[in-house]
């Protein structure tokens, strides 16, 4: 199986380890993430003002290119997923807007591509039982908090990947990998997102809430599906540790790194060294490595 894949600008640079671990995991399970021949940045935000059509031309261009390579498109970054999926819905359901946007990008694209998150591919196309069967290094005993953030789930009507208030897809994957998923209160709350640019205080507070909430619920590890979440959580780590009595920090990794780990990929290939937090002590403690 070969699935057209859109890495997005961040996975091509900042979050290389997210991208590579996913591609390797895919081939270990038996399918290929085939990078689009031509792609551009999706714009990293879905405009909330519906009249702002020009902002949809970048993602529309990506989708239109994807349409030329197949009927599905998969992404890893939650933000790309959000932008592409919602743009696609506009193009599919709104004739007038479709005409205008197609005019901008000089293409004839009708929203027919099925935009999938990598998690959806694993769940619906591959099946978690098949993933489970491919596990060689179960993450046994690791209490793992899956951090969904906002963009993967909301708004529900557009995203539809899972129940927006009580999602399970991540936890089910973690179970398949042999880990012990921990549902923690803040797993669907925001990390602070783009406020990283000008409001470190808020980001530290929100990301701190996420991490302390996870640890408070027993998590020893957090997995993410968004480079910005990853960045905000990791970046805030030290400040939260110093300001929160009793909190000593928690490693944060991409869920694909956890996946690669469980599938038995060589540790060196997973890019843990690029993470700010160090997951190795935990892995050693649990006897995984």
């Amino acid at each position: 199986m070969k699935i057209p894949y859109y890495p997005g600008c961040t996975l091509n640079t900042f979050a290389k380890s997210f991208d590579e671990s996913a591609r390797d995991a895919a081939s270990a399970i038996g399918f290929e993430m085939a990078e689009l021949k031509q792609w551009n940045c999706c714009g990293a935000t879905f405009p909330l003002t519906p009249d702002n059509l020009i902002a949809l031309s970048a993602p529309a261009k990506v989708l239109s290119n994807a349409g030329k390579e197949g009927d599905t498109l998969t992404t890893l970054c939650s933000v790309c997923y959000n932008v592409l999926k919602r743009t696609n819905k506009v193009l599919r359901d709104n004739r007038e807007k479709r005409a205008t946007i197609n005019g901008f990008i000089e293409e004839e694209y009708d929203g027919s591509v099925n935009v999938l998150h990598f998690l959806e591919v694993l769940r619906d196309k591959v099946g978690f039982d098949k993933v489970k069967a491919a596990v060689k290094r179960p993450l046994a005993g690791i209490k793992t908090g899956a951090y969904y953030g906002c963009m993967l789930l909301r708004p529900f009507e557009d995203m539809g990947i899972d129940n927006a208030e009580r999602p399970t897809v991540f936890e089910n994957l973690l179970k398949a990998l042999g880990a012990e998923p921990v549902e923690f209160p803040n797993r669907i709350e925001c990390c602070g997102a783009h406020l990283a640019m000008n409001n470190e205080e808020v980001v530290t507070k929100l990301s701190g809430n996420v991490m302390t909430s996870a640890v408070g619920s027993g998590a020893e590890l957090i997995v993410t599906s968004c480079p910005l979440c990853q960045y905000n959580l990791e970046k805030s780590q030290d400040k939260v540790v110093s300001s929160t009595p009793g909190y000593t920090g928690v490693p944060v990794i991409y869920f694909t790194q956890a996946l690669g780990l469980a599938l038995g990929q060589p540790i060196e290939s997973l890019g843990f060294e690029k993470n700010v937090t160090d997951v190795m002590p935990l892995l050693k403690k649990k006897g995984i490595v």
């Binding site: 009580r166 209160p185 408070g216 619920s217």
Partner: protein
């Protein structure tokens, strides 16, 4: 040639001031078929009516016109007078020259009024020429009623009809009557114990000679029309012979298996052979067949062994009984919206998030905790309880747009019950508005706040989650403009009242209407609140929409009085304004069938001598037809007509315009 008389009324000066009534009478005399005319001061007075009767007899009139006030005023008077003189009452027509002429055209030269009166009277005369004598429709009425649903509304209706001396069959789908009220602890606004006021009524319903209780039963099929319904009722097998069972309870005692109690809403378990609650009426247990190992795999059988009168029969089967009744009262009540829909409130996941009805069970002295407020997770007495109102109600996006009407009140009640039972506890109520319209209702809510220390917070809760054994409630207090967080021990959701599952299927069986939320439609929300558009079928209680006990009871009584009024005569007389089908031209297109708002038109087959169907025809059921005439306009082959408003009559009027 017809022999028509025209009587023009002066109404004192009311008409005569602007209409030359004499001239009108004279002009009419010139029309063919008019043999007698006159004008008179007060046609409706006794001398006026005498004169009319006299003239009919003397002139051998076969039709008459009274040009006077609106037919809404005196049509009945004059038709009665005509009948007294031996004429068919429907051969009398009214021309409205007062409300439509003299009173609205103030020209004292009488020019305008006279011309218009002449026109109007002429049109009525031409119409009258096409009239046919009509007979009032008489429908025999079976004086027995069926009540569907044994909640408080249904019980009240049944008792009132029975007290009026008529037989009632009360059908209830559960093993006991009582409905939702049986679950309540104490009831607003008076705080009497629900069981204390309900149980006597339930027992009364059981003992009343005029009431036949059919519990564990459901209506399968309804045929017929007002006065003459035939109803098939499925009596689900109880596996216990009701006649012989003494209600000793030995079987329940000895049954070794337990399962979730639906009555206790997941807060307790019950035996496989059970009565829903101790005061059940009738006090006869039923076996929950899917959970009984004897019935499923022929293991156990303990209950049958201990039963003294030997009334347990594991082979008992469902039965269908047929009943003939003249009227039906539907009182099937409500249920609560499944809270699982509200993921953000953690219902179904967080054990200590419960529904208002579950709180009733916790507060009820016959409930699973014996009336002590203990939270489900660990049985601890909660010190901080958060009540969230409007859960699912007034929520267009994920719930229903309407207000559930009773939850403001019962939440206030809950805070009181809580305070009375947990003196040092603190309650918090998140509300959007407090709806306490009703006698002593507002005072009740204020008492909860001022006397029983409920902390009311104006705002909605955004999220509820668990942390360290607490239930954290995160919401807003819009009055102070702040985000608030409460570390609660228990959260109670005032979930929306919704229609019963299957309410639509029952409505279809009965041929009554329902709204988009599947609440039944009343005939007129203000003026005919307990009737449906289908004559002979009445409504009571929460099957129509959210309401409290006082209203449900009032409706039960109102429906009963409607039934008793219907039963007060042996026959029901109906205006003969009904549709009829011309059998020779009807081509069975069924356009009329779909158009009729009352489902009054049936599909009838015409058979030859061998019994083969040779033809299909539309047939109007006169007992059901309300005479709207929609079918007439719908029929493309002009095969239906409406008596009293036939095409011929209307065209005659138009043609003489």
């Amino acid at each position: 040639m017809p022999r028509i008389g025209v009587f023009v009324c002066q109404c004192g000066n009311n008409i005569a001031a602007t209409v030359d009534t004499k001239k009108v009478a004279e002009e009419m005399k010139k029309l063919p078929g008019v043999v007698y005319t006159c004008d008179y001061k007060f046609m409706c007075s006794s001398p006026g009516q005498d004169m009319l009767r006299q003239a009919i007899k003397e002139n051998k009139l076969d039709g008459l016109i009274v040009s006077a006030c609106s037919p809404h005023m005196h049509e009945k008077t004059f038709r009665k007078a005509a009948e007294a003189a031996g004429l068919n009452p429907y051969q009398c027509e009214i021309t409205n020259i007062r409300e439509q002429c003299s009173w609205v055209h103030h020209d004292t030269t009488k020019a305008v009024g006279t011309v218009k009166s002449i026109d109007l009277t002429r049109m009525t005369i031409e119409r009258l020429k096409k009239n046919r004598p009509l007979k009032k429709i008489k429908i025999p009425v079976k004086k027995r009623a069926l009540v569907i649903g044994g909640g408080i509304a249904g019980i009240q209706a049944a008792l009132d009809i029975a007290d009026g001396g008529r037989e009632v069959i009360l059908v209830e789908k559960e093993p006991s009557i009582g409905g939702n009220m049986a679950r309540l602890s104490e009831t607003f606004p008076t705080m009497d114990c629900s069981q204390c006021i309900l149980t006597p009524k339930m027992v009364e319903a059981e003992l009343n000679e005029n009431i036949t209780l059919l519990t564990y039963s459901e209506v399968e099929k309804v045929d017929g029309y007002i006065g003459n319904f035939t109803v098939q009722i499925k009596r689900k097998s109880k596996f216990v012979d009701e006649e012989r069972c003494t209600g000793c309870g030995e079987c329940i005692e000895k049954c070794p298996f337990k399962t979730e109690s639906a009555f206790e809403l997941g807060l307790a378990k019950r035996k496989v052979i059970y009565t829903p609650f101790p005061q059940s009426v009738p006090n006869v247990p039923v076996i929950d067949a899917p959970n009984c190992p004897k019935i499923q795999k022929d293991k156990c059988g303990a209950c049958a062994i201990v039963c003294g009168p030997k009334c347990i029969d594991f082979k008992m089967e469902d039965k269908i009984v047929t009943e003939e009744v003249g009227a039906i009262v539907v009182a099937t009540g409500y249920q609560l919206m499944p809270n699982e829909r509200f993921g953000e409130y953690g219902y179904g996941r967080i054990k200590d998030v419960i529904s208002g009805m579950q709180f009733e069970r916790l507060a009820s002295s016959s409930g699973p905790t014996g009336g002590e407020i203990r939270r489900p997770s660990d049985g601890k007495v909660p010190q901080n309880v958060v009540f969230i109102q409007c859960v699912g109600s007034r929520d267009e996006k994920k719930g229903v747009s309407y207000c559930s009407k009773v939850c403001c009140m019962y939440t206030a009640k809950h805070t009181m019950l809580y305070k009375h039972k947990v003196h040092d506890g603190q309650s918090y109520v998140f509300y959007m508005d407090i709806r306490s319209g009703g006698k002593r209702y507002e005072e009740f809510v204020r008492k909860a706040i001022e006397h029983d220390d409920a902390m009311y917070l104006r705002g909605r809760v955004s999220r509820v989650y668990e942390k360290d054994g607490k239930v954290i409630v995160q919401g807003a207090d819009t009055l102070s403009g702040s985000q608030v967080e409460i570390e609660a021990d228990m959260v109670v959701l005032a979930t929306a009242i919704v229609s019963r599952e299957g309410a639509d299927t029952l409505a279809q069986k009965l041929g009554i209407g329902y709204d988009k939320y599947k609440f039944y439609n009343e005939y007129h929300p203000k003026l005919r609140p307990v009737e449906t558009v289908t004559a002979g079928i009445f409504l009571a209680g929460t099957c129509m929409g959210p309401m409290d006990i006082p209203e449900s009871v009032a409706q039960g009584s109102a429906a009963a009085s409607k039934v008793l009024a219907l039963f007060s005569a042996d026959e029901m007389a109906r205006e003969p304004i009904t549709a009829g089908v011309n059998k020779t031209t009807c081509n069975a297109c069924w356009d009329c069938v779909t158009a009729c708002p009352y489902s009054a038109i049936e599909r009838e087959s015409v058979k030859d001598r061998q019994g083969n169907i040779v033809k299909w025809l539309a047939r109007v059921n006169e007992g059901v037809c309300q005479g709207c005439g929609v079918c007439v306009a719908a029929c493309r082959s002009k095969s239906v007509d409406l008596r009293g408003y036939t095409d011929e009559q209307v065209f005659a009027a138009i043609n003489s315009f």
